[in-house]
C-alpha cells in the first residue's frame, strides 16, 4: 500500500510547480512555453493519480481508509492538533482522478481557447493554482485542512472569474461570487470552531465515528442558551453544511453561479461545473456518517437539494445564453447530488444508496458537464456569441463536436447506456427507498425537464438553418486543441457509467461506511423504465418544438410573445398556436415566470437590500466623522454613560 502512495506527492507537486513556474517566470516570457509546461505537469499529475487509484483498488486494501502522509500543521493544545495530510479512501481517490483528469483536459483545451489572449501565461498559472487547491481539498484529512483549501479554491475562483478584468461585468461577478461564498463560509468556520471544540478533534475519521449518546448529558453554553453538547453538534453540522450550501450554490445562494459564467469558458467548465461546485456535495459525502447522526440535518440537506434541482431546471428552460443554460443545469444536477445524500435516513436508521448514487453522480457528471461546457466554449469561440439566437446549423460545420455533444446531452438526460443514466437512476431510486415520495416525484419531473432543456439547447445550436452570418458564410471550423479534449471526454461521458458502475457498487457500498443502524433495502426495478420514459417523452417534445421539420424556430425563440399577455390571448385563437401556447406560455412561461420572479425579485432583492442597508449604515458612520472636535469630545462622555448603562457591569 505505502509503495503505491509514495508517488502521490506528484499529484500535488505538479500543479503547484506549474503555478509557481508559470506565475513567476514562464508566464510573462512565453505563453506557448507556459501552456506546454502546464499540460505536461498536469498530465504527470493525472498519471500519478491514476497510478495511485489503480494501485489502491487492486491492492485488496481497498475500501479501507489510509492516511498516506500527515504532518502537524497547527497545534491548539496537547492532543488537539490540526494536521495537513493526504487521505486515501475510495471517495478521495475517485475525486483525485476526476480533478486531475479534468484539469488535464481543460489545460489542453485552453491552448485553443485562450490563444492570443494578452495574459495567457497568467491564465495557466491560475488554473494550476486552482487544481492544486482543489486537490488539497479532496485529500483533506480533517476539517481544518479542508477549510484552508476551501477558501483557496474560492480565491482562485475569484481570480479566474475576474480574469478578463477589463470587463466590468466580470469584475462584479467575481466579487459577488467571492463575497457570497465567503458569507456561507463564515458559517462553515463557525461550525468548525463549534464542532471541533465539542468533539475535541478536526479529524474526519473521529468525527465520523462519533455517537451523540456520549454528548447528551454534558451541556455547553452557546452564549445565548445552555444546550446539550449533542444539540451543539447538530447546530455545528448545520453550520458546516451551510458552507457547502454556498459553495455548491444551492438556493437561495445560487445567484453567484450563473453570473460566474463571465469568466473564460474553460474556467466555467472546470471550476463552476465539474469540480469546485461539487465541493459542497463532497463535504457532505465526506462527513456523511456525522451528518447522519446529527438530528434531521439530512432532511434539511434533502430539501435544499431538491428545491434547487427543480428551481434551476425550470429557469434553464427559459434561458437563451448557452453558458447560462449550462450553469442552471449544473445547479440542477448539484441539487440531485445533494438531495440524494439527504434521502438516506428512515427514522434513525440509515441506508447508503443515496450516498453511493451521489458520489457516482459526481463522477459521471464531471465528465459530461465538463464536456458540455467545452463544447459551448467551442461554439462561442466560432460564432462569437453566447446567444442561441445566433447559432443553429452547426451540425455540418462541426461534426466531431456535434457527435460529442449528442453523447453528453444523452448522458445528462439519463438515456441508457450513457453514463448519466446509471447514476441518476440510482439517485431517483434512493428517494424512493427513503419513502420520500414527493422528492421522488420532483426528481422524475426534473429528469424530464433536464432532457427538455438540454435537447432544446442541442437542437437550437446544431440543427436547423444557420441564424448567423458567420455560420452561413462558412467561417466556422473545428479547432484541433479544442476538439481533442472534447473528443476524449466523450469517452467517459459515454462509458463511465457502464464501466465504473461496478467500482462504485463494489467499494461505495453499505457496510463499508461507518454509520449506525444500517439498512439494506430492496431495489425497485421499475424505476429505470419510468425515468427513461419521462426522458424520451421530453426529448420528443423538444424535437417537435425545436427540430422537427414543422418547427417554427423563430416563434420558439420569439421573446415578445413570451412576455405579453395580450399576445397570449391573441394567439390562442389560432389552432396551430395552441401548442406553443400551452407549452410555452403556460408550462414554461407560467411556472418559469414564478421561478424567475423568485430569482429576480425575492433573492436578488434581498441581496440588494442587504447591500443598501450596509452602505446606509456606512454613510451614517462617515457622517458622524465630521471633524468637529467638540463632537468628538462629546463621544467620550457619551461613551462612558453608554457603557455605564448597557455595559452589563454589575452596579
Amino acid at each position: 500500500m505505502t509503495n503505491d502512495v509514495s508517488i502521490s506527492y506528484l499529484i500535488f507537486l505538479m500543479p503547484l510547480l506549474t503555478f509557481v513556474v508559470n506565475g513567476l517566470f514562464l508566464g510573462k516570457r512565453s505563453a506557448k512555453g507556459a501552456a506546454t509546461f502546464a499540460i505536461l505537469c498536469n498530465g504527470v499529475a493525472f498519471a500519478a493519480a491514476l497510478f495511485l487509484a489503480v494501485g489502491y483498488f487492486t491492492s485488496g486494501f481497498a475500501p479501507q481508509k489510509a492516511v498516506a502522509f500527515e504532518m502537524p500543521f497547527l497545534k491548539f493544545a496537547e492532543g488537539f492538533v490540526a494536521n495537513i495530510g493526504l487521505l486515501v479512501d475510495p471517495l478521495s481517490i475517485m475525486m483525485l482522478v476526476v480533478v486531475t483528469f479534468i484539469a488535464f483536459m481543460v489545460n489542453i483545451y485552453s491552448v485553443g481557447y485562450m490563444r492570443g489572449d494578452r495574459a495567457e501565461g497568467r491564465f495557466f498559472a491560475l488554473l494550476s493554482l486552482f487544481s492544486f487547491s482543489m486537490l488539497g481539498l479532496v485529500a483533506a484529512t480533517n476539517l481544518f485542512q479542508m477549510f484552508i483549501f476551501w477558501e483557496l479554491v474560492g480565491v482562485s475562483s475569484y481570480l479566474l472569474i475576474g480574469f478578463w478584468y477589463h470587463k466590468p461585468s466580470a469584475v462584479s461577478a467575481s466579487k459577488q461570487a467571492f463575497i457570497l461564498t465567503r458569507f456561507a463560509d463564515s458559517f462553515f468556520l463557525l461550525g468548525i470552531v463549534l464542532v471541533s471544540y465539542v468533539a475535541q478533534s478536526f479529524d474526519f475519521f473521529n468525527l465520523n465515528g462519533l455517537t451523540l449518546g456520549a454528548f447528551a448529558d454534558q451541556t455547553i453554553n452557546l452564549g445565548v442558551m445552555e444546550v446539550s453538547k449533542a444539540t451543539a453538534l447538530t447546530i455545528g453540522a448545520v453550520l458546516i453544511f451551510t458552507g457547502g450550501w454556498g459553495k455548491s450554490a444551492m438556493f437561495p445562494m445560487h445567484i453567484w453561479l450563473p453570473n460566474a459564467m463571465e469568466g473564460p469558458t474553460p474556467v466555467s467548465s472546470i471550476i463552476h461545473s465539474a469540480t469546485m461546485v461539487v465541493a459542497g456535495v463532497y463535504l457532505v459525502a465526506r462527513l456523511f456518517p456525522f451528518f447522519a447522526i446529527c438530528g434531521n440535518t439530512l432532511t434539511l440537506i434533502m430539501w435544499v437539494g431538491a428545491f434547487t434541482m427543480v428551481f434551476a431546471a425550470v429557469i434553464a428552460c427559459t434561458q437563451k445564453d448557452i453558458k447560462r443554460i449550462l450553469a442552471y443545469s449544473t445547479l440542477s444536477q448539484l441539487g440531485y447530488m445533494m438531495f440524494a445524500l439527504g434521502t438516506c435516513k428512515i427514522g434513525d436508521a440509515v441506508f447508503t444508496t443515496g450516498w453511493t448514487a451521489s458520489t457516482f453522480h459526481i463522477f459521471t457528471h464531471a465528465f459530461f458537464k465538463c464536456s458540455l461546457f467545452l463544447i459551448a466554449g467551442s461554439l462561442i469561440h466560432q460564432v462569437h456569441t453566447n446567444d442561441l439566437d445566433a447559432m443553429g446549423g452547426l451540425r455540418k460545420k462541426m461534426p466531431i463536436t456535434y457527435v460529442c455533444a449528442l453523447i453528453s446531452v444523452l448522458a445528462i438526460s439519463g438515456i441508457p447506456p450513457f453514463s448519466g443514466f446509471f447514476s441518476k437512476d440510482e439517485i431517483i431510486l434512493s428517494a424512493f427507498q427513503g419513502h420520500h415520495y414527493a422528492v421522488f416525484g420532483l426528481a422524475v419531473l426534473t429528469s424530464g425537464l433536464t432532457t427538455f432543456y438540454m435537447f432544446r439547447l442541442f437542437f437550437l445550436a446544431f440543427h436547423g438553418k444557420p441564424r448567423s452570418e458567420s455560420v452561413a458564410a462558412g467561417h466556422v471550423h473545428e479547432d484541433f486543441a479544442m476538439t481533442l479534449p472534447i473528443a476524449i471526454l466523450a469517452v467517459p461521458a459515454l462509458l463511465s457509467g457502464l464501466l465504473a458502475g461496478g467500482l462504485f457498487e463494489h467499494y461505495f457500498v453499505p457496510g463499508k461506511l461507518m454509520v449506525p443502524q444500517l439498512l439494506q433495502l430492496q431495489e425497485a426495478h421499475w424505476i429505470p423504465y419510468v425515468a427513461v420514459g419521462v426522458a424520451v417523452v421530453s426529448l420528443l417534445i423538444a424535437w417537435v418544438l425545436y427540430a422537427s421539420p414543422k418547427a417554427n424556430i423563430n416563434r420558439a425563440l420569439d421573446d415578445v410573445n413570451r412576455s405579453s399577455i395580450y399576445k397570449t390571448i391573441y394567439h390562442k385563437f389560432y389552432f396551430d398556436e395552441m401548442y406553443y401556447c400551452v407549452v410555452r406560455q403556460f408550462v414554461i412561461g407560467g411556472i418559469a415566470k414564478v421561478a424567475r420572479f423568485i430569482q429576480d425579485y425575492i433573492v436578488e432583492g434581498i441581496v440588494a437590500f442587504v447591500v443598501w442597508f450596509f452602505h446606509a449604515l456606512g454613510r451614517l458612520v462617515r457622517t458622524a466623522q465630521s471633524g468637529h472636535l467638540t463632537f468628538y469630545l462629546g463621544t467620550l462622555i457619551v461613551g462612558v454613560i453608554l457603557w455605564r448603562f448597557i455595559g452589563h457591569l454589575p452596579f
Binding site: 497547527l74 483557496l152 475576474g162 458569507f183 463557525l190 456606512g618 451614517l620 468628538y632 455595559g647
Partner: protein, 478 residues
Amino acid sequence: MYSISNQLIPDLILLALPFLILIVRLCSKRTTVMPWRIANLGLIATFVMLNMIPLTNSEGAFFLSNWRVDDFGVLMREVFVLSGILGLWLAKDYFDHGADGKPALMHITEFMATLIFATFGGFIVVSACDMLTLFLGLEMATIPMYALTAWNKRDQYGSEAATKYILMGSVATAFELFGFSYLYGFAGSIHFSQIASATSAGTSPLLWIALLFIFCGIGFKLTLFPFYTWAPDVYEGAPTPVTAVLSVTSKATAIAFLVVLLYGPLAPVQDKIVPLVALLACTTLFVGNLGALKQSRLRRFMAYSSIAQAGYIMIALLGPGYISKTAIVYYLFVYTVANYLAFFVFGVIGHYRPESFNSLRGLSKQNTLLAVALAAAMFSLAGIPPLAGFFGKFHLFFSGATAGHYMVVAFAVLNNVLALYYYLQVIKSAWADEPEGELSPIRMVKRQRFVVIALLAATILLGVLPFVSNNVFTGFTF
C-alpha cells in the same frame, strides 16, 4: 547589589539608545548618518537579544521588585521592537523627500529617539507590577505619539491632527487616572498582587466605577467604539510612517495594557467584565467595517480597517488567559506584518502620487511586485487562508469560542464578509481598474524592495507554515 540578568539587557539597550543617538547627533556634523546606523543597530540588537531569552512558562522574573519579565512580556517586546524597526525603515524615505503632497520631514535623529521612547513605553506596560508603572508606561507610549503626529511642522493638517489627538488624549488620560484612583480606593494599594487579593475577596461599586473609567480611557487608545473618533482624522493627518506606527505600536500597547490588567489583578472578576468586553468588541468591529466601506483616501481607509482589527483582537479577551495571550501575541505579529506591508506599498506609491485609491489604478501592470504584495496584505487582513491573517483570526475566534461566546464569534465571522468587501476594493483598484492617463513611473529603493519582499514572504510563510512560529505556542501556558 543587583546583578544584571540577561533578561534585562534588551530593556537597557533600548533605554540607552535614544540618549545615545541624540548625543551622537549633537557631537557630529549635520549631515551625519551615524545616528541612523546606531538606531538600526540598537533596535536589531534588542530584537535579537529578546529572541535569545528562553520562554520559561513561569510567573516571570522580577527585578527591583516591580519590573517583571515574563513570556507574554518578552513576546510583546518583540512585537514592539519589530514595529519600531519597520516604522523607522518606512520613515527614512520621508526625510529624503516629501510625499503625498506634503514637504519632507526633518530632524530624523529626534524622530527616531521619540519613536524609540514610545516603544519603550510599551516595554514598561508589559513589565508593570503596579498601577503607577502601568500608567507611566502608557503615557510614555502615548505622549511621543502626539509629537510624532505633528512632526511635519510645515503641514497644517498634521498640526490639526495632533491638536485633536492631544486634546482627546488628555481627556482619556483623565478618565484613566480617575479609574485608577478608584481602584486604589477600592484595594488600598497600587500593587497588582494586593489588588488581586482585594478583588478576589469581594467587589463593590467602587471597583466597577474604576473599571468603567479604565475601559473608557483605554478605549480611546485602542480605538474602541465610541472612542475611536479621533483615529480617522489623526491617521489621515499624520505623516504616513507615523500612521503605521500608531496603528501597530499604539494599538499593541493598549491591548497589552488590557491583557496585563485583565489576566493580572482583575483576573478574579474577569468573567463579570466579559459582557462589556464582548459589547466593545462587537460594536467596534462593526463600526470599523462600516466606516471603511467607501473611502477614497488610503490612510483614512487603513484607520477604519485598524479600528475593526481592534475589535477582532478584543474577542480574544473573552477567553481564558493562556489561549487569549497566545492568540493576541500571534495575531499582533501577523497584523504587524500585514499592516506594515500595506503601508510600505502605500509609502512607495505616495512618493509619486497622492495616497488615494485612484493612485493604485494600473499598479498591477506597472509594478507587479507591489500589486502582489498589496493583494497579499489585504487578503491577510481579511483573513483568507492560507495567509497568516486567517490563522491569527482563527486563534482569536477560538479563544472567544472556548469561553462559549459563540454569538460574539458568529457576529465577528459574519463581519469578516463585510471586511472582505472593502479589502477587495483595494485589490480591485490595484488590479482591475484602468489608469487614467499616463502614470508617473514608480521606483523603489533597495531598502523598500527588501522590506516588501521580506514582509510578503512572512505573510505567506506564516500562513503556509504556521509551525515556524511554534515558539509562540509552545512553552506558553502561563
